[in-house]
Symmetry: C2
Subunit: 370 residues, 2 copies
């Protein structure tokens, strides 16, 4: 067998993630591997937690990076909070809400799901009514930024309703974190997971998570073991905490990369970073609408970092994406689930949220669609 | 918050993993991130599968890298093969056998465990008797190279007994793969997982797994869903396979690194690599025994890549390891479980299996223990 060394042709990553990665992050990734109990590395772990707290806007002690991608973070939050037979309400507005329902059922939850049409958002009243009708629930789960539709759910208002009903709110911020406001403490979020490869602009492979004191207590006082050994926060926390008990070998180099990407986020500042994402979105919107391309998500609830647009009539979806990738080096995303073949998903995430990216993708699309 | 960029003081990694990483692997790790459906990346995925097949010595189609560390690989094999109520026999000879029992119970298995004292191995007869007495079993699980004790289990003979009884054999090769022979097809192993940070000398974060046709069929014909969505091979296989269905975002850069580390393994050749590990082990053994330090595992079943030795009387365990790390830049491992405070674990894995490493750790130990 003769397999050549890989040699990557770089792209402009403007799909639903991964996004472009800063060379500083790639350089951190390639620092020498050391042991997971080496003092040098433990300092890095502590700093990662501290920076994650800043980015999540929380003081939660139980804040760390799960050793898997965003979906492992989803499974961590669900598996750790749910015991077999627990009632959970899942708010579904796209593919990732559906995924959460599937994960919750596999964890043994009695799941009630409510849905809104793709591209729309829930109101707090809808959630209140669902709880009144089908509750009580132990956990209410919702996706903040639904990557399949491009819509942003109003978490703060929904969180109040959930707390009024005595439940915990679990929020997917995979796509939103560091691209729009996510205020874990201010909004009273109890469990929250994200991914590294979206607005944090780190390669995929880790999932930042954070749990409120209330959620932590629920996890610590379970009657049954968490069904996943790998994702059991009762053990993982003892490695990230001062006990430093070995659980599994941390993904050392990926933690280096996350450390550098968090430094970049905090150097820029959260407010400035959110504003940059919004400015790029508005620029993209103006240019696309001038070309007659329309957005699919509700005008009032559009994600700046994930722009879901309707594929113009008569246009060959995959041929266009293929030309964008091969001739222009630009990756955009296909539609997912109900939007398959109907939508493009144009990401402006982290390092990919620049005027240069917006102008490149729109001028390339203009040339291809001409 | 002012957090400095990380700057790692390199170590000689001679603990139970991670092991030293070749600069070529670190360079691959830092190649530009691309999308998980980019044609460039799909070629890499195929090559990784092909090289994993070569290293596992298998033709198994269902061979891939799970997006988590070795423990996630353990959970994948157990969760995918076990449905609630299934009977599983776990052979425990150390910490990782205990872990497998815990994972199996969390998956709902009815677990029977048999144990041998730490440092010893099972005979095929012991396993045959356990099956006759407590069986039948759907799955028999065993750790090939027990990282907590340094003992190597005779998998080939045990596999025959397991198959005679109509069960599937699940083998942990986290520490053994690419350091001693692992012959998945030749030994009839049905499910097998490993880790990247041991004898493959890649940073931690991925778990190579492989399933026989029989195991694949068991997974495909389950009556219940796999309890872990993230580790459900019925879905993950459709991304690694020709369907290329999105499941979760692959850890792109870690796959680059695994690709390069597998190239290094195959460039050297499996036989030569196993021989190198054995030669280094013998050199270490000679030098340590000359210093009066004795090995803890059975003489006939010692792991070459993980040398578990007794801490000499009156020696301060953690003080010695601290001096090794801080003054000599050498990491060795502490004892785990029953061997805590009683043993050191000296790893000679992959890039760390060289005469230079052996001589460095023995001369440093000699100076410290003088």
């Amino acid at each position: 067998m003769m397999i050549e060394a890989i040699k990557i042709q770089p792209r402009m990553l403007m799909g639903p993630g991964p996004s472009d990665v800063n060379p500083r992050v790639l350089a951190a990734l390639a620092q020498p591997t050391v042991g997971h109990l080496d003092g040098q590395f433990l300092v890095i772990l502590n700093q990662v937690r501290e920076m994650l707290q800043a980015v999540f806007q929380t003081k939660n002690t139980l804040t760390l990076a799960v050793s898997g991608t965003g979906s492992a973070g989803m499974e961590t939050c669900v598996d750790d909070l749910i015991e077999p037979g627990d009632a959970m309400l899942v708010c579904i507005a796209g593919v990732f809400g559906q995924r959460m329902k599937d994960v919750a059922q596999r964890a043994g939850a009695r799941v009630t799901a409510i849905e809104v049409p793709w591209g729309q958002v829930f109101t707090a009243d809808q959630v209140r009514e669902a709880i009144a009708k089908h509750g009580p629930f132990k956990v209410v789960g919702i996706v903040h930024a639904e990557t399949s539709t491009g819509a942003l759910q109003p978490i703060e208002a929904i969180g109040r309703v959930v707390h009024d009903a005595g439940a915990l709110i679990l929020v997917d911020t995979v796509t939103s974190l560091a691209g729009v406001e996510v205020n874990v403490d201010g909004w009273g979020i109890d469990a929250c997971y994200s991914g590294t490869q979206k607005c944090l602009s780190c390669p995929p492979g880790l999932s930042p998570v954070t749990f409120s004191a209330a959620a932590e207590k629920v996890i610590a006082t379970r009657k049954t073991k968490v069904q996943s050994w790998y994702l059991d926060m009762n053990m993982v926390r003892q490695y990230w905490g001062s006990e430093r008990l070995y659980h599994h070998t941390a993904p050392i180099n990926m933690i280096y990369a996350l450390h550098e990407s968090l430094r970049l986020v905090l150097e820029e500042g959260l407010q400035k970073r959110w504003a940059r994402h919004m400015q790029c979105h508005l620029r993209l919107k103006e240019k696309l609408e001038a070309m007659g391309i329309r957005f699919l998500a509700d005008a009032d609830h559009r994600l700046p970092m994930l722009n879901t647009v309707s594929i113009p009539d008569g246009v060959d979806d995959s041929a266009v994406r293929k030309r964008l990738l091969e001739e222009y080096g630009i990756e955009i995303g296909a539609g997912l689930g109900a939007f398959k073949g109907k939508a493009w998903r144009i990401g402006l995430m982290g390092e990919s949220a620049t005027e240069r990216h917006v102008d490149a993708v729109t001028s390339a699309l203009k040339a291809i669609l001409r």
